[in-house]
């Protein structure tokens, strides 16, 4: 992922790991959440390799469901396709759907150091809320 820590803080969960992410608007919140998850999972040494753009369209019941599915998609790309998402750009978002372009590179053990395994993005106490004109989300991962 991008060098530098995204805007999130860790929540103290006994068995797993939770994050509280902030965004200046809804699109930014989803982008920051993706960055935060990758930041927890692995380190990324910037290389000269070219990124590959992947377009995704995710549907959900509401914003919290959309958040779980969005992060789940990025996690699957890593776990199932050995593809690292280095950046995300949301072009549209509604409570039931989002459209985004993901910048990806193939996983390379020489460039990426895996810090910990995230088994899944859970629905446990999931929250996506607007607060004083900014957006926040609470997400708990199964480690």
């Amino acid at each position: 992922m991008h060098p530098g820590k995204p805007d999130f803080s860790l929540l103290d969960h006994t068995a797993d790991m939770g994050i509280l992410v902030r965004g200046i608007n809804l699109k930014n919140l989803f982008e920051e959440a993706a960055k935060s998850m990758m930041y927890i999972m692995l380190t990324y040494a910037p290389g000269i390799e070219e990124t590959h753009a992947v377009k995704v369209s995710i549907k959900g019941n509401d914003l919290p469901d959309l958040m779980v599915r969005w992060l789940g998609e990025i996690l699957y790309l890593f776990e199932g396709e050995k593809t690292v998402v280095t950046d995300t750009f949301l072009s549209a978002i509604s409570p039931s759907q989002l459209e985004a372009t993901l910048q990806t590179i193939p996983f390379d053990p020489a460039l990426h150091e895996i810090l910990r395994e995230i088994k899944a993005v859970t629905y446990h106490q999931i929250e996506v809320a607007e607060k004083d004109g900014r957006w926040e989300a609470r997400i708990i991962f199964d480690l």
Partner: protein, 498 residues
């Protein structure tokens, strides 16, 4: 819309608080009751002791016990074993049974790592013989057993073979030359659950499963060389072929990405369809489907595929351990005398016969971080253990004791045939990291005679012994409460971790 009501506390953005407001009544030295209030359909029951219960009150696991008690069709109590800690949806250490008429099945009540479990293997080696070469053995095992995040192994399954693994479980591995048919008699459900249907699995699940069979994974999974340090019950130890000073091998792993994906796929589908089921959920992670619905039945069939994959996985890892020990020690199979003692799962949902209100009824028991514990004479036990009871394997955290217990009648009368599954975390990973900062955990362990090799940088710190409850206390509670009886204590000599 999903209703948020009942025991779930309002969430606080800056910190996730404790369970102080959940009412707990102490029934006796080993049992605490959460009285039935609000939308709870049954009371909660926690097996614990004065010391362990203090830590339980500090996170949200009691709220989770109360939340599970609100689910339709739950019978008896929403229970938790003494290793209870805060999970997602169900607490870890949770046990809940549901009737088949209106009851539900919940993927969150099984967990992402479907059939995470353990297997204990005995040898004829004595600890004194191998102590000088433990490092060599651990290095050889680390080389031959694929470990780490997303680890892949030398097996690449065709789609047809992957489907066979999903249906046949450990028997598939045995057919391919990994172990013997005798091993199947010493595996819960003979290493294969009925009803597995791989045609229900997503492309993604199949893709993730094709190259992860025969891998240990990461996190709290491990493979350990141990010594039997103490015998508590001479007769049962003989029945289990255990003796003091004996070297054993403990394998703790599950269904890998295959199981994670299956859980994820069905949680998403259930989450989408929950409104139609008119079930009010206090936590979305408790998404579920009625047992008699098409979705409920499909989940159980898909879950069985992952359970069977996990049994095949542990069977294959045992075989490679066997090969590695023979080669490294340059001895023959008779001298090594490796034998499977038992293989149990601790993340599962199963239809079983239990006594409810004086009647024998079929219920679906969820064990989320809990082990089956069948007493002597139980019809589901293989002949080998019919007299002694089911071996119950309780892995310690890295660097602490593991235990062998035997299933006891008290589990059938109190906990739907269930007991604890491990130590249970007491420190979050963040707290463990902070505590272990600038400490060399591998050296600390080596100083007490435990040699560790691990792949992940963070794993050793996050899995440090202090991050877990005192396992001897956990085991004492289930022993005293009659859920399982202590047979032997095992001390680690060397560990490989992902």
């Amino acid at each position: 819309m999903i209703c948020r009501k009942g025991p779930l506390k309002p969430y606080n953005h800056t910190s996730i608080g404790a369970d102080m407001e959940i009412k707990l009544e102490k029934l006796d030295e080993y049992r605490w009751l959460i009285p039935k209030t609000g939308p709870m359909r049954v009371p909660g029951l926690i097996f614990s002791n004065n010391k362990l219960i203090k830590a339980v009150k500090e996170d949200q696991s009691l709220t989770q016990v109360a939340n599970v008690a609100t689910l339709p069709g739950i019978v008896g109590y929403s229970m938790a074993m003494p290793d209870i800690h805060w999970g997602y949806g169900f607490p870890i250490g949770g046990v809940a049974a549901f009737n088949l008429d209106e009851g539900i099945v919940s993927p969150g009540g099984v967990g992402y790592d479907i059939n995470c479990g353990c297997r204990l293997i005995t040898t004829l080696l004595s600890a004194d013989e191998i102590r000088p070469i433990v490092k060599d053995l651990i290095s050889a095992l680390f080389k031959n057993i694929p470990t780490g995040v997303g680890s892949t192994g030398p097996l690449k399954l065709s789609k047809k073979d992957e489907a066979r693994v999903a249906v046949q479980g450990a028997a598939w591995a045995v057919k391919k030359g990994f172990g013997t048919t005798e091993d199947l008699d010493k595996t819960e459900d003979h290493g294969a659950m009925d009803g597995a249907d791989p045609s229900l699995l997503s492309e993604r699940a199949m893709k993730r499963g094709k190259d992860q069979l025969g891998t240990l994974g990461s996190g709290n999974h491990f493979l350990e060389l141990q010594v039997v340090e103490k015998i508590y019950d001479d007769q049962k130890a003989r029945d289990f072929s255990l003796f003091e000073g004996q070297v054993t091998v403990f394998i703790h792993t599950g269904s890998r990405g295959f199981g994670h994906q299956i859980c994820d796929d069905f949680l998403k589908e259930m989450s989408m369809k929950i409104q139609k089921e008119s079930i009010d959920l206090p936590d979305r992670q408790l998404a579920c489907a009625r047992l008699k619905s098409d979705l409920g039945r499909r989940y159980l069939s898909a879950m069985a595929c992952a359970a069977n994959y996990a049994w095949a996985n542990r069977q294959i890892l045992m075989h490679w351990t066997h090969e590695t020990l023979l080669k490294t020690l340059s001895i023959n199979p008779e001298e090594l005398g490796m034998n499977l003692l038992y293989d149990v799962c601790h993340n599962i949902a199963k239809k079983e016969l239990h006594t409810v209100g004086g009647n024998q009824v079929m219920v679906c028991v969820h064990r989320k971080g809990a082990t089956r514990s069948l007493p002597p004479g139980h019809p589901l036990l293989s002949q080998i253990y019919r007299d002694a009871g089911q071996p119950v394997l309780i892995p310690g955290s890295m660097g602490t004791y593991s235990y062998v217990l035997a299933g006891a009648e008290g589990a059938m009368t109190q906990s739907f045939g269930s007991t604890c599954h491990g130590a249970g975390r007491v420190l979050s990973r963040a707290k463990a990291n902070k505590k272990a900062k600038s400490r060399a955990i591998h050296r600390e362990l080596e100083d007490i005679g435990i040699f560790v090799q691990s792949k992940g940088k963070r794993t050793l710190k996050e899995e440090m012994p202090e991050a877990y409850k005192d396992i001897s206390q956990v085991v004492e509670v289930v022993h005293q409460a009659g859920l399982a009886k202590k047979v032997a204590r095992l001390r680690p000599l060397g560990v490989i971790k992902g």
